[in-house]
């Protein structure tokens, strides 16, 4: 595991993209073939099921170290990463071992069918043969998120440069299913296995937020304007009568939306569609909070299907009868999409309506009112644009409505994870509800490192209790919180849920008495 440990260490030690790239290329040059495939799998979220729960790992560490559970909790809060906490608490190893990354992964795969006693024996023996950093990696390999200071996109770009191919080819090639036994790393990333898999989606074309005034985009007639829907961006694939639904996070969500599958079965032809999965009733798009009820469910009950009906609003057509249309102009793709739709009209899969405006001023009026339709704003797509891979400036712009904002007071704080573990970075904010404060949102981002240090110091000095990960803070610091949407929610004490809340700025000029009231905030709900 030496090459991999060196890589992890190198990625940890810098935030310069060039040095990270160097380290990855060094790994790709020297690491064994199977290790490279495993690395790619782990970094792109294709990992085996966790064979052992973290609860068990923690129990074993408590047994070995003989420390009380509350102390473990304190340590975890200070470290901010469970795998690392376990690695640091264990006594130094008394033996040594050198297994490659793939050998470890094979061992871990074997554990799936092992008894708990066998699992425990394997883990304890391994811990006793690894130094702290190796142990940390081993714990990560056993399960949990694998963040290494490089995104999967960053990795893909590095691989693409290294092999002198287009990033889109790498992205496309490593989507879908593959394993470390039957595949060769070079062939995989070069796309030599690509056509074998019917499910393979295309990388999504994404839009940048518009930075200038829309008037500067030129003639409105050159642009296709449509609403920006706030649901789950999805790719609907039907090839050879097989149906796949991919989310933008490269997850297959086919079984979560049976009504889409049912509708697609009736569609004729073979195609790949780009669209937005939305909750809708009686022709009205529902608040995102409704759609949330349908996400990450193992079972979709009939009641739930009736309570939160699903529709898809189609944006684009990427492939038709085996032909990749992405280099066609948007105008042509839209024409083909409308033709395809005309042959397959139904209640579930619909076209995302186009907005026709004579001039930008008229569009501005619609943009400002878009929230009333539960839309986030307007999408502007150049009619002659091709379907780009990922984000590319110029072709597509998102023109979102300004976020809503409220002033709220900090009431709870928690240390962050990863690089934020040394400081209080995760905050809960409250607003007034009569004479009381009621928590309204959690936010993790928006402050500069310097502000985080300052807020952390305030929290240390003004915490009302000393144990456990969460600090109750004297309600004095006021922040402006921005969010994209708001809806009623039974799961939240305040009765409302904010969408994408984040800290806009620290309002040092305001006191706790100046914060917003829940009553006023509820008035923002459409």
């Amino acid at each position: 595991m030496i090459e991999f440990a060196t890589l992890v260490n190198a990625l940890d030690s810098t935030n310069k993209a060039s040095l990270k790239k160097e380290a990855i290329i060094r790994f790709l040059t020297f690491a064994p073939e199977k290790d490279k495939l495993w690395f790619l799998a782990l970094m792109t979220g294709k990992r085996p099921r966790r064979p052992i729960s973290t609860k068990e790992l923690k129990t074993w560490v408590l047994e070995i170290t003989n420390i009380p559970e509350w102390l473990f909790v304190e340590c975890y809060a200070a470290v901010g990463d469970l795998s690392e906490t376990l690695a640091l608490l264990l006594p130094p190893a008394s033996e040594k071992i050198n297994k490659s990354l793939s050998e470890w992964m094979e061992d871990i795969l074997q554990l799936a069918n092992a008894s708990m006693a066998e699992k425990k024996a394997f883990v304890l023996t391994s811990w006793n043969r690894l130094n702290t950093i190796e142990r940390f990696i081993f714990n990560k390999l056993l399960g949990g998120s694998f963040r290494l200071g490089v995104s999967s996109k960053g990795l893909i770009n590095t691989i693409a440069t290294h092999f002198q191919i287009e990033p889109s080819i790498v992205t496309h090639s490593i989507m879908g299913e593959w394993n470390s036994h039957d595949y060769a790393f070079d062939k995989l990333v070069r796309g030599e296995y690509s056509n074998t898999n019917l499910s393979k989606p295309y990388p999504f074309c994404l839009a940048y937020p518009i930075e200038k005034e829309v008037e500067e985009l030129g003639l409105i007639a050159e642009w296709q304007c449509e609403y920006k829907w706030d649901g789950i961006r999805g790719q609907l694939i039907k090839r050879g009568d097989e149906i796949f639904i991919w989310s933008r996070g490269e997850e297959l969500v086919t079984i979560q939306f049976p009504e889409i599958t049912d509708a697609l079965k009736k569609w004729k032809g073979s195609f790949v569609l780009d669209g937005e999965i939305l909750a809708a009733k009686d022709g009205q798009i529902l608040n995102f909070n409704e759609l949330q009820k349908r996400i990450n469910r193992k079972l979709i009950s009939k009641t739930l299907r009736e309570e939160v009906p699903i529709v898809v609003y189609l944006y684009d057509l990427l492939e038709l009868d085996g032909k990749d249309l992405r280099s066609e102009s948007l105008q042509n793709r839209r024409k083909l999409l409308e033709q395809l739709y005309q042959h397959n009209v139904g209640p579930t899969i619909l076209l995302s309506p186009l907005i026709s405006c004579e001039n930008w001023a008229d569009l501005r009026i619609l943009q400002l009112a878009s929230r009333e339709l539960n839309s986030e704003g307007i999408m502007l797509k150049k009619k002659d644009s091709i379907y780009y891979v990922g984000r590319k400036k110029g072709g597509w712009w998102k023109w979102k409505v300004n976020p809503m904002t409220i002033d709220a007071v900090l009431i709870y704080a928690q240390k962050g994870s990863g690089r934020r573990s040394a400081h209080y970075t995760d905050y809960t904010f409250a607003v007034k509800d009569g004479d009381h404060l009621v928590s309204i949102a959690k936010a993790y981002s928006g402050l500069t490192d310097k502000e985080i240090l300052e807020v952390s110091r305030y929290i240390r000095q003004n915490a009302l209790e000393k144990f456990g990960p969460v600090r109750t803070v004297k309600p004095e610091l006021v922040f402006e919180i921005a969010f994209e949407g708001i809806g009623y929610s039974k799961r939240h004490k305040s009765g409302v849920a904010l969408r994408f809340p984040r800290i806009l700025r620290w309002r040092r000029d305001k006191k706790a008495a100046d914060i917003d009231t829940l009553e006023n905030i509820k008035k923002l709900i459409t």
């Binding site: 940890d12 509350w70 102390l71 690392e84 690089r419 573990s421 040394a422 240090l453």
Partner: protein, 327 residues
Amino acid sequence: MIQFTSKGIYCIPGKFYLEPWQPVDLAIITHGHADHARPGMKKYLCHHFTVGILKSRIGPDIQVEGLAYNQSIHINGVKISLHPAGHIIGSAQIRMEYKGKVTVFTGDYKLQDDGLSTPFEPVKCHELITESTFGLPIYRWESVEMQNQRLNAWIMHNQGYKKTSVFIGYSLGKSQRILNAVKDMGEIYVHYSIAKLNIAYSDAGINLPSYQIIDPTTDMKHLDGKIVLLPPALLDTQLLQKIPHVAYAICSGWMQIRGARRWRSADAGFAISDHADWNGLLQAVKESGAEKVYVTHGQTASFSKYLNEIGVEAEEVNTNYGEELSV
């Protein structure tokens, strides 16, 4: 015998303070770090080696008296002696005895022998006032030899890539430790604030390796490929960027945690500390034989709670020490 006041830790019969943070008549000082030795006292009492440091940091005209380790004096009937704390040069635990009862104030300390400071010696007492900067079991230091090997290996790696190795550590104590550890690896340059404190070491008869002093007003090109020592205050300044081909490492106990290393995004972080680790703190408490332990700074809540659970009566007290530790 002891009272925790808003000015500092007060010895009632002795009528003096231990490391107060507000001006008093007589202050006994454990060591020369700024959060422990503050300006404004009428008189200071400390170890001989600390005298020069106080004069250099607080002012040449302060009234300060030096004591040797294990030498006792009496103040208002309280027998006082200083004992090695192993933290930095001259660092001392303060032992106070009055009517047969012994209280020891550790100041900052470590059990590891860093090769420069007089090694820590346990002192038997009834009451122990201890720090707990690294009072969580995640803090366990590697041996000093291993730490030094890692520093040297890192320099070698940098030399292979033609990079300048810059170490960031406190100017008093840590820097001299690093200087000593890397002495055979090449030409060493230290910031003048560190050089100023190196004198305290040579005055104490400790031979530090030879080094050259950086003048930050001149051009930094001549540092290319060399070994450079800087204090933490320069971390976010231009100086670091002016050094050609810089790779910099932070040397601090906090670097034990991956998140802390990544927060600073230094090129390397070495968990080298002049404070006791978890096992060190527990060992010190045990060897003191104290019936009652007061915990002054650091992980005070966790450490005192744990001591109570293992049968040592302990209580946390509020002090103003430890604010320096923000790296």
